[in-house]
């Protein structure tokens, strides 16, 4: 490793290509922590938004009008307002309303930090789309299949959990995939509320070290790789879930 860093240092000195964020231990640490924050943020938001999608689509099959209306209102709000404004709303408008908690040093601090607010706002944002995506899958499941489960004594939840959802997921996986890739990219928006994710630390580094171009290339490469890995995993999942004679 050290040899590589020395080489990069030499490249900087000799050719002016400034990869200080790799060869300098301090900058490298900052950048890696930023990347780790991005990965964590994306993973948690993906998990939460899928959960919201599953539960929301389930609520929409409810016979209770008020539940359906509530889910519909949620979807309309989050789909039809800009995600950046949503994030500001959560952080700057809701944040100060939350109770304060006493931390380990006996000092009161906000219940949620910027990371938690970013998780909440991005999960609700992507979750609204996921509800619609799962619902389209749920609606594509044959009614006769549901009726068969019903006649076998499955409860409403068992029908959803063991019959409708597994089929709906297979139907809507491509659309889900799309939305989750978007979500992973939208994590950069957490920059706006100072979550120290990749874009945030990158901009700190390029301000301190004046290596904007090199930092940008690094940044784009990182996102290409991250999304690439995610898409690869989703493709494998899609293949694993493929059932002979269903869909396609």
């Amino acid at each position: 490793m050290d040899a590589l860093w020395d080489l990069l240092r030499h490249v900087h000195d000799a050719y002016g290509v400034n990869l200080v964020h790799f060869y300098d231990g301090f900058e490298r640490g900052r950048l890696l922590r930023g990347m780790w924050t991005t990965v964590k943020l994306a993973a948690i938001c993906i998990a939460f938004s899928i959960l919201i999608g599953i539960v929301g689509a389930w609520l929409q099959t409810s016979r209770l009008r008020i539940l359906k209306a509530a889910v519909q209102g949620y979807i309309q709000f989050f789909r039809n307002t800009p995600p950046l404004v949503q994030m500001y709303f959560f952080y700057f408008a809701l944040g100060p309303q939350m109770p304060r908690v006493i931390n380990d040093f006996g000092v009161p601090q906000p219940m949620f930090g910027s990371f938690e607010w970013a998780v909440l706002s991005l999960s609700f944002f992507a979750g609204a789309f996921n509800v619609e995506i799962f619902r389209s899958g749920v609606e594509a499941v044959q009614k006769a299949t549901v009726e068969a489960a019903d006649s076998l004594g499955f409860s409403r939840w068992q029908i959803y959990r063991y019959v409708v959802l597994p089929l709906a997921v297979r139907i809507c996986l491509p659309a889900l995939n799309n939305n989750l890739v978007n979500l992973a990219k939208t994590t950069t928006q957490a920059y706006a509320i100072a979550v120290p994710e990749t874009l945030f630390v990158a901009s700190q580094i390029w301000s301190d070290r004046i290596n904007v171009l090199e930092m940008m290339v690094t940044l784009l490469t990182f996102y290409l790789l991250m999304v690439g890995v995610f898409v690869w995993a989703m493709t494998r999942l899609e293949r694993r879930l493929r059932v002979p004679g269903f869909g396609q």
């Binding site: 044959q142 019903d150 076998l152 269903f246």
Partner: protein
């Protein structure tokens, strides 16, 4: 198949005895919106009896079967299964569905589960029976419907007739007392119709109570103890198969039979 540890006692009305009708339908009315689909249907099925219901499309046959296991609610009248009112709001639907198995026209297997998983799912999830026992029963049922070797096939890899036999096995895994068949051969190729009918006949011969909606007149005549003819939401005529098919009195029945035979 139906003895031993597999069948757990199902709550029945204590006043019901097997010499009374196992299914008693009395003056049932059912509307979808403004359209009245069943206009006062009554029929009784004795334990071990095979009842065939025939009639033109849209006459309410499927709706009648669906009412019997409470898949759709009725507007008026009464349906009793083993003495228990099916449309009593306090009814234990699960107990009813364990007693009444149903096989539909199509798309009724779970496409993401293998044949044997299809059979095992309800006993595992609904009855919470031990897996080893459920699997052993499922394998026996697969061979009963002559599908040994197809346990791990997905529905999409089976012919229509094979799928329907898996569907029958899946219903039987709940150890029902009554089986409802709703035009289970209507969507099949002629070659596979026969294998499904053979399976149903075997069940009937073993003494299973069956309500069969069918367009296969020869089959109805051969297997039915009693034939009902429905038209536009009423039972027009019924009788034992021999007299029904040769001496139908109502002109609607005769018109229908002359078209189809």
């Amino acid at each position: 198949m139906r003895s031993g540890t597999e069948g757990q006692a199902v709550s029945t009305n204590p006043t019901w005895t097997p010499d009374q009708p196992i299914v008693a339908v009395h003056d049932v009315h059912k509307s979808f919106g403004a359209i009245e689909v069943l206009k006062g249907v009554s029929l009784d099925v004795a334990k071990g009896e095979v009842v065939c219901i025939i009639g033109p499309s849209g006459s309410g046959k499927s709706t009648l079967l669906r009412c019997v296991n409470a898949l759709v609610p009725i507007n008026k009248g009464s349906i009793k299964v083993e003495g228990q009112e099916v449309h009593d709001p306090a009814l234990d639907k699960l107990a009813l569905r364990r007693k009444v198995g149903m096989v539909f026209q199509q798309y009724n297997l779970f496409p993401h589960k293998t044949a044997i998983e299809n059979i095992m799912m309800a006993p595992l999830l609904v009855l919470k029976r031990p897996k080893a026992e459920v699997e052993a029963q499922a394998r026996r049922l697969m061979s009963k419907v002559r599908l040994e070797g197809k346990e791990d096939a997905y529905p999409g890899e089976l012919s229509g007739g094979q799928q329907q036999r898996v569907a029958i096995a899946r219903s039987l895994a709940m150890n029902p007392d009554i089986m409802l068949f709703d035009e289970v051969t209507a969507a099949l190729d002629p070659e596979t119709v026969k294998e499904v009918l053979v399976t149903i006949r075997e069940l009937a011969e073993e003494g299973m109570t069956c309500m069969i909606v069918t367009h296969e007149m020869g089959f109805a005549r051969e297997i039915g103890d009693h034939i009902y003819f429905t038209d536009r939401g009423v039972i027009v005529e019924h009788g034992a198969p021999d007299s029904f098919f040769t001496q139908a009195s109502d002109p609607r029945t005769r018109a229908f039979l002359s078209q189809i035979l």
